[in-house]
Symmetry: C2
């Protein structure tokens, strides 16, 4: 196939790229390469071949170049599909979508830091202040989108895709977190979004152990 | 002034924007607004006014819109200055610079996580595996740039600015880290870069306590 995506089945950052590829009609040109990255267990092959940061996703393209991070890959795919579909090219809307995307992306980062803190880190070394701080960032972001539902209007853009990946990750990793109650407009929007084939085909699952 | 930058004097992400603004000749149009963000001490005013993630920098522009994160702000400033100066607009070079930037940015993120882990977090809750993992990401990135010095050629781009901010932050926060010995080409490049006014005027300092 034309492109190879270094991939894990639970990462919200990988899912964002997969959703983008399906929305853009490019998913059939992308082969998925399962890649394990866990803090403390350095995947040195992956660091050497693809991304020295050992983060997924990375995308290998025809000429052998490897692109990362997820945002760069999504912009690359958007341009490859004609441009301006997920990230507007006219500058007034571009900055708004990219800023909304940075918010959703930061919420994903907080959610992954929470996962590392509450699952990977030994119990005695966990710090409740850090945990509360990450949840506060996520909650503040959810509230922002609830109060700015103009950001949730069609057409689906990169900010919305990333927010969808975040909400799917919350349901996957923190099913007891009752985020829908506090943000009903967001909950209604997500109920519609998740029916799209791009989200249905990419639901997060645990990697094989 | 035309724009306001929510700012802290030690953040490598803020510094990246300040270097970019000086390189683009836009710094005189930007007022700096001192803004404290520390995990566990939520700055709720800032979260409400500017960035729900409570991360700096954010940039308030003429029409009242607030843009973040540092990468979005740098692209905005680049376009405002004519476009294509810090981030190439022709796509072959664009993906290379944006990927190199993502590497330098991820190294900055690792360095800030290290700072939180070894300074903010109570000693009993620190985890050596996490500390080693962040240093490994930084070291792998330094080695990558040492072996790809084509990425360090003129003209100065967003990846180089971000790498400069990272190296300045390492010298500031980890002066005992002898990174120059392992990466002599990078050290020589940085010795030249840091003589630019944009770096000299933005050396990191501790915030007032």
């Amino acid at each position: 196939m034309a492109m190879k995506l270094y991939f894990g089945p639970s990462s919200p950052f990988v899912r964002k790229v997969r959703i983008a590829a399906i929305e853009l009609g490019l998913d059939k040109e992308i082969e998925l390469i399962p890649t394990a990255v866990v803090p403390g267990k350095p995947n040195t092959d992956y660091a050497r071949e693809a991304n020295p940061l050992r983060r997924i996703p990375a995308l290998s393209i025809e000429d052998g170049e490897v692109l990362y991070d997820s945002t760069v890959i999504c912009e690359y795919l958007d341009v490859r599909a004609g441009g301006g579909r997920l990230i507007p090219q006219d500058t007034a809307r571009r900055w708004r979508v990219l800023t909304n995307h940075a918010l959703a992306q930061g919420m994903c980062e907080a959610a992954v830091l929470l996962r590392y803190e509450t699952w990977l880190r030994p119990e005695a070394q966990r710090w409740s202040v850090w945990i509360d701080d990450q949840w506060d960032k996520i909650d503040s972001g959810l509230e922002w989108f609830e109060n700015h539902d103009e950001a949730l209007q069609e057409p689906v853009d990169l900010a919305q895709i990333t927010l969808g990946a975040l909400l799917g990750y919350l349901d996957f990793r923190s099913p007891d977190k009752d985020w829908r109650q506090a943000t009903p407009k967001l909950a209604a929007w997500y109920a519609t979004l998740r029916e799209r084939p791009s989200l249905r085909e990419t639901e997060p699952v645990n990697p094989p152990t």
